[in-house]
Symmetry: C2
Subunit: 189 residues, 2 copies
DNA sequence: ATTGCTTTTTGCCAAATGACAAATGATTTC
DNA sequence: GAAATCATTTGTCATTTGGCAAAAAGCAAT
């Protein structure tokens, strides 16, 4: 829980009473490997904070290939924002890659907190824009680099993820085949 | 100006008095082709809304290649968010690709409006998250597609941009060389 | 129209990556 | 611990894309 408090206080100040209100709403969710936090075709109903484990967000492109578009590891927020905020169906699966332990807030609780804790709004907005900017900044540069550089970028961005997720997920994240990635790994050593 | 009002009212309601307060702060900025709206190494000082013309956001990667990462055309917001919000130096150039006409707000005016028009905050937050989500959703899928598919995606996303910007900008946006793009164009016809 | 300048297209070859299949290695299940 | 299952590596070859340079096309100024 401390990890979560530290995380949110990076983005603004809250007094102890406000922090208590927030933490009182948080529930622990144990998500076994392979299970979904939220699914394509459904409306995201919760906000999570990863305490342990690795999550991925993936979708199927129009060739039917499964594409992993982000990884989310410890001490990061996980929420399918567009779906959660606008109550529209998501087009992505948010899935535990390893056994995970999360702190979760239901949509109802989350919205309640926004109403009753005024400074919380500003903090959430900062978090949201930080999270979104981070997503662009991480994914976008991949477009213009060759496969080896992409992999090196991945290693920098997600140093704690490499050894916990299947090669195929990383390959699809990088937009290359898993054979290519395997060869790239060999060349790097 | 109407275009701008229409744009913001998509995200929430404002009464006429509030709209007037906002529009009173807006200035027209004519930005000739090639000129910068904001620059790498500097702190973004304004928010803009494109009335006419095409803008691009670009940066230099560590091989020194110039990479265009977004285009922004009519009726869209242009702001280097991370720099503008956090008063940190930007790492990107925001440049007019054609002669442009913009509606602009200085940082001071923008923040003032946020303070005095309460519902404006919520609207701005919605706009910001919409704009950021759009950036991810547009750029991210390029990673996992081949060059031809990328170009077709570009055409869908920016139907009004193709004929107004140099081929080289599009090529760097797609992460391919301009020769390749030229060949792709030939094959598509 | 001619010149000079920039952008786009094309040709050629090399390098990178993909597709497919088989082999190896790792992990789970009984 | 053997079998079955799944993940990764490797081999071979085809395809795509890049690098480089030259030609062609477009554009602006005179």
């Amino acid at each position: 829980m401390k990890a979560f408090i530290d995380y949110i206080l990076q983005f603004g100040d809250l007094n102890q009473q406000q922090i208590d209100l927030i933490t009182k709403k948080a529930k622990i969710l144990e998500l076994p490997k392979e299970e979904y936090f939220s699914e394509a075709g459904k409306i995201a109903q919760q906000v999570g904070f990863v305490l342990e484990g690795v999550i991925r967000v993936c979708y199927y492109n129009n060739k039917g290939e499964e594409i992993t578009k982000y990884f989310i590891d410890e001490n990061n927020l996980v929420v399918d924002l567009e779906s959660f905020n606008n109550d529209i169906c998501s087009n992505a699966y948010v899935q535990a890659v390893t056994d995970c332990k999360l702190l979760v807030f239901s949509k109802k609780d989350w919205k309640e907190l926004l109403d009753i804790i005024i400074p919380w709004q500003a903090i959430v907005n900062k978090i949201v824009s930080r999270v979104l900017i981070q997503k662009v900044e991480r994914r976008s540069p991949l477009v213009s680099e060759d496969a080896t550089t992409r992999y090196l970028m991945f290693l920098k961005i997600y140093p704690n993820v490499v050894n916990r997720v299947p090669l195929s997920y990383i390959a699809s994240y990088l937009g290359i085949t898993q054979s290519s990635l395997s060869r790239i790994r060999k060349n790097i050593r």
